[in-house]
Symmetry: C2
Subunit: 232 residues, 2 copies
Amino acid sequence: MSQRPMPVFDRWRETTEPDRVVVLSRKGEFLFRQGDPSEMFYVVTEGRILFVKESPFGTPLILERLLPGEFVAGFAVIFDFPYPAGALADCPSRAEGYSKSRLLSAIDQDRELRREVHTELGERFRMYQSRLLYANMPIEVRLSQVLVALSGRDPDQVALGGSPVPSATLRDSIAITRTVLAQMCLTTVETAIRVTRMWEKAGKIDLSKKGVIRILDPVFFCDQVRGHSPRA
Amino acid sequence: MSQRPMPVFDRWRETTEPDRVVVLSRKGEFLFRQGDPSEMFYVVTEGRILFVKESPFGTPLILERLLPGEFVAGFAVIFDFPYPAGALADCPSRAEGYSKSRLLSAIDQDRELRREVHTELGERFRMYQSRLLYANMPIEVRLSQVLVALSGRDPDQVALGGSPVPSATLRDSIAITRTVLAQMCLTTVETAIRVTRMWEKAGKIDLSKKGVIRILDPVFFCDQVRGHSPRA
């Protein structure tokens, strides 16, 4: 989710044979289901994995959208509780799994590895807290917050005037359908389409490539997240 | 937040002199501010502490409400990032602080202590995920979800039909003002008053004691959280 560099983690993976390799050849295939015992620590190696929580009200909520190099459900594995959400492919994907005991002993033995994994868990925890803060905002603000986060900007740092993210890590071309965007904000796909079309007409985003949202005016979206009214 | 027993943690605290004791004699006094370096791991020993996140939109969000025996901002201390929210007294309160290095070395040395702290962090992480799921529900559902959680029921277990919480740990008399309740749901105090008055008239809660909400019909609130319509 946060795409910060994790050199020790990457080296550990390069030198450690996974216990399982899972190929998800079709969109919608599950890596694991919500409530399954968290026996495996999975790292995405190709494609995109969505971490999706079931709702008693019907509409599922996409909690996280994970890209190659990122791990899924680390909290559940490390803190030893069942997967709190399911993981499914957003497009043909591949993941490598390490058993819980191997991950835990590696983290136990290597202080730097532990520090990197903990920092990443902390980032995700803060992301959940930030999302809660925006959850009752108007839909334009919620959609902006997701786009800002997916582009690699830290909404909290933006909001609190912290140091900007290095531009090399920004991703303004985001492979995301309006359905996924809607489920990240708990809104309907119709609403996501209506708002993104409005932004397209206003020149804030480019929707010309199917399944891709390209951010043209990042300052506009940061302003929305910061609580400023859009500029005239 | 979760009020599960933590015997090893309690024993560690009994046998470890705190580095700092903080007395907050008035409601609204800060234990620490959002953004401060997380140098201290605080445990509430008297009163109630609210963990409150600032919002760029003005209305703060109460992330957690901590009672004696519970720790504040454990994630920030253990995963080493600044306090993501401020902690302030909800009534005259007292907290004991342990330096970050002392906590980390205790956790490093005692596997059982680590397990208990990790389990509690996992519970809180799941609580944030659940709250996100309910964040866009009608206000009656969000208020119900907070009351169910504060009463010691696990909304996720209730919703997924898991094993019931032992009744000894249920707390159906909750010391909470409508202002705090509103800030836990990101709604206005007027809305919180309107809905709770409606529930009082319907015999679902008792508001006769100032600053206390007593739940009379827990099944009604569990039904709301589960997505059932209220019974006639």
